[in-house]
């Protein structure tokens, strides 16, 4: 195949999330990106035109493209994470559109967990609000490598540079408290399209890139940890067939690092070691595998390995921690509050264990970024630092080093609901 299509076969995948307070223009911005990159089809456009008309909007309400559930359309607000897709010749984008209401912090955390980039919207008229800080903090807590602050509704402040500069310096002042590698600012009007895909004709004072340019060009491949090989065993493949009587493949997704044929690996928790015999992807046999590939690895020696075990490379920098005691920042997701000394199921990579919360160290006030060591009641949307003891050892890294082996969830044994997301310290 020539030209366009073959080019399309070599796109990079970028996941981003949007955050902002209600009415900052998230849905409009996403609608604009989809519309200007021609990811909106005629029948979708006709459908939203019909609805816009019926609900008395003058301009076609691009936000309707993302507000999917009936109750959302009726209330005109986004209530759950919605995923959207569009592509340019360079990249395929996955957007997690998350609502900005305080009661939905969990949605932003959810969307942020897999994102390469966060777009945080700020209404130019209102400047930096408590919510802006909260969103920036969550982006930093979830270690999203790149954060782009979109100063929106510039059309409503006469496209004035002072407004943009003031907001930028206000954010810069708090950014020092956060740990985000890469922060950018773009003045936009989502409604009119300024600096979203097309350059604005009304903000000559801004000579930086458009939002789309950033999304297409921000360097993301070095955000993946290619240093520490970590391979949580997900499933053991044993065909036991006439053709493959002895095949024993350890299937999983490489969490980080690189593995080559012949590399020496050790198995956690048993500590046995062996060498990599093959790295398989169906008939294709690879010379080397790397994150985030899903492969099946066979070893030279017969060792008893099962789901929940982890293969790591020998002599490959730091070993993962191997412990029953874990300290983590957690975001609480449930109306049932965290029970001190409460028992939960912990899910970490492919391992499951029961665990107990042994200590609540402090609760984070995400509006002031201050630690609260007095009030330790952790409820819906609270963020806290806790200690956990699990019934068996887990193999983990700090979240800041490894987003896969450093993350966990807690599940309530009674309801089976996911009650918390944890970032290991």
């Amino acid at each position: 195949m020539s030209g366009k299509e073959s080019g399309y076969l070599d796109m990079e995948l970028l996941r981003f999330t949007t955050a902002g307070s209600v009415d900052d223009g998230k849905s409009t911005l996403i609608g604009r990106l989809l519309y200007d990159s021609k990811a909106i089809f005629e029948d979708q456009m006709e459908a939203i035109e019909r609805v816009s008309e019926r609900s008395g909007h003058e301009e076609v309400n691009l936000a309707l493209l993302t507000d999917g559930l009936r109750s959302e359309r009726e209330q005109g607000i986004t209530i759950d994470v919605a995923y959207r897709y569009f592509a340019t010749p360079k990249r395929k984008f996955i957007i997690a559109d998350t609502p900005g209401h305080i009661q939905y912090t969990r949605n932003m955390v959810t969307g942020a967990s897999t994102a390469n980039v966060a777009l945080i919207l700020v209404d130019a008229r209102h400047g930096v609000l408590e919510q802006t800080l909260r969103h920036a903090y969550i982006a930093s807590l979830l270690q999203i490598p790149h954060v782009i602050f979109c100063i929106n509704k510039m059309d409503l402040v006469d496209y004035k540079q002072e407004v943009f500069d003031k907001i930028k310096s206000d954010i810069d002042a708090v950014a020092s408290k956060l740990s985000v590698k890469d922060i950018r600012f773009v003045p936009i009007s989502a409604l009119k399209g300024d600096n979203v895909v097309e350059r604005s004709g009304s903000m000559d004072w801004y000579d930086g890139p458009t939002l789309m340019y950033l999304l297409e060009n921000i360097h993301i491949s070095s955000d993946v940890n290619h240093d520490d090989f970590r391979f949580p065993v997900q499933y053991v493949i044993r065909p036991q067939s006439a053709e493959w009587p002895d095949y024993r493949g350890y299937a999983g997704r490489i969490a980080s690092g690189v593995i080559k044929l012949g590399d020496e690996v050790s198995v956690l928790p048993s500590g046995f070691s062996s060498k990599v015999k093959t790295i398989d992807m169906m008939e294709e046999s690879l010379e080397e595998g790397f994150a985030p590939q899903s492969v099946s690895i066979t070893l030279e020696d017969d060792i008893d390995i099962s789901r929940g075990d982890m293969l790591v490379k020998k002599n490959n920098g730091a070993e993962p921690k191997n412990s029953q005691d874990i300290e983590a920042m957690v975001c609480w997701f449930n109306d049932r509050k965290l029970m001190p000394r409460g028992k939960y199921v912990i899910k970490h990579t492919s391992a499951d264990a029961r665990c107990m919360v042994t200590d609540i160290q402090y609760k984070m006030n995400i509006n002031t970024l201050e630690k609260n060591e007095e009030d330790k009641e952790v409820g819906m949307n609270d963020i806290a630092r806790i200690k956990i003891r699990s019934t068996k050892p887990l193999f983990f890294d700090s979240y800041s080093r490894n987003r896969i082996t450093g993350s966990l969830i807690l599940v309530d044994e009674a309801t089976n609901e996911t009650v918390a997301a944890g970032m290991i310290i």
């Binding site: 990079e12 993302t66 493959w244 299937a251 790397f290 590939q293 997701f333 966990l408 997301a421």
Partner: protein, 301 residues
């Protein structure tokens, strides 16, 4: 570090294989739904990759409305035989005969909605605890809010406002007795990704996806196939056209595209320049603004 980069299709593939393996590991008795359409063909291809060189460790299941394109059934049977896979066929006709559902009447009658009962009965009857489907979030607004692991209560119903948060790549498949999960391994794929992947992997498709001459008629702007069980209204005329399927489903609600595309390259060109969604051709979604959401709440695919 650019040497350690994979393209978007490889990354989607790795994600989907991960999800499918997770299902095999977390559930006792999973099943993969197979409609004969391109999405389920791709999903099954991914399942084969996930467990190679072993066979896929779960059966497939086809919810059969009885209103099929014969080519789709031939393709299904051949694929199952070639790969040594078991495919359970659950018939909507059986649900009608057992009085579980009542056939719709009139020219617009469709068995599409009735499938939900057949599906839920088959899940319960076979004690499946997870059913994988080829639904994609880009298909429709209500689907855009689906999780990979979507929890269903004991009535098989979906509560979109009370979904479990899904973080990183940790999937929580814990449930109570009688409940089950729907799992959507190709959630993050778009129609274009599916076609490009089929092209990249050289996956064989039913001939229906390529141009062919067929007797068709136009109903409310949608071209439908004139097969024996289709009832025509008085003003509808049968014509012969060059058409192909963009999706394959129940014949009564699968719109055909006027097209002369006879290779994957042609189809990718066509998809790239098309201005309507693939569901735009589906009469079932036109019924109301939230038709899909309503059906999904009840337990539809």
């Amino acid at each position: 570090m650019d040497q350690y980069r994979i393209n978007h299709l490889k990354e989607l593939e790795a994600e989907s294989i991960y999800v499918i393996r997770e299902v095999a590991a977390q559930f006792e008795n999973p099943v993969m739904l197979f409609s004969g359409g391109k999405d389920s063909i791709v999903m099954f291809h991914l399942a084969r990759k996930a467990f190679w060189p072993a066979k896929v460790p779960f059966p497939l299941m086809h919810i059969d409305t009885g209103h099929n394109f014969p080519e789709a059934l031939e393709y299904r049977d051949r694929l199952m035989e070639e790969t040594g896979t078991k495919c359970i066929v659950a018939l909507v006709q059986d649900s009608i005969d057992q009085g579980r559902v009542v056939e719709e009447r009139g020219v617009n009658a469709s068995r599409n909605k009735l499938q939900t009962t057949t599906l839920l009965d088959a899940i319960e009857g076979n004690k499946f605890d997870a059913a994988m489907g080829g639904g994609r979030r880009d298909e429709e607004k209500a689907r855009a809010k689906e999780r990979f692991f979507s929890h269903r209560d004991e009535f098989g119903q979906w509560d979109p406002k009370n979904q479990r948060p899904e973080l990183w790549n940790i999937f929580n498949g814990r449930k109570n007795m009688g409940e089950h999960f729907r799992v959507f391994p190709i959630s993050n794929w778009t129609e274009m990704d599916v076609w490009q992947y089929i092209y990249m992997e050289k996956i064989e498709l039913p001939s229906l996806y390529f141009t062919h001459k067929r007797e068709v008629f136009n109903r409310d702007g949608v071209w439908l196939a004139k097969l024996p069980f289709m009832q025509l209204k008085d003003n509808e005329v049968v014509e012969t056209k060059d058409v192909r399927c963009r999706t394959i489903g129940d014949v009564t609600c699968t719109g055909l595209t006027l097209s002369t595309a006879n290779s994957l390259e042609d189809i990718i060109h066509e998809v790239a320049s098309t201005r309507t969604t693939e569901r735009g051709g589906r009469a079932d979604d036109k019924r109301s603004e939230s038709a899909m959401e309503d059906r999904k709440r009840e337990g539809y695919f």
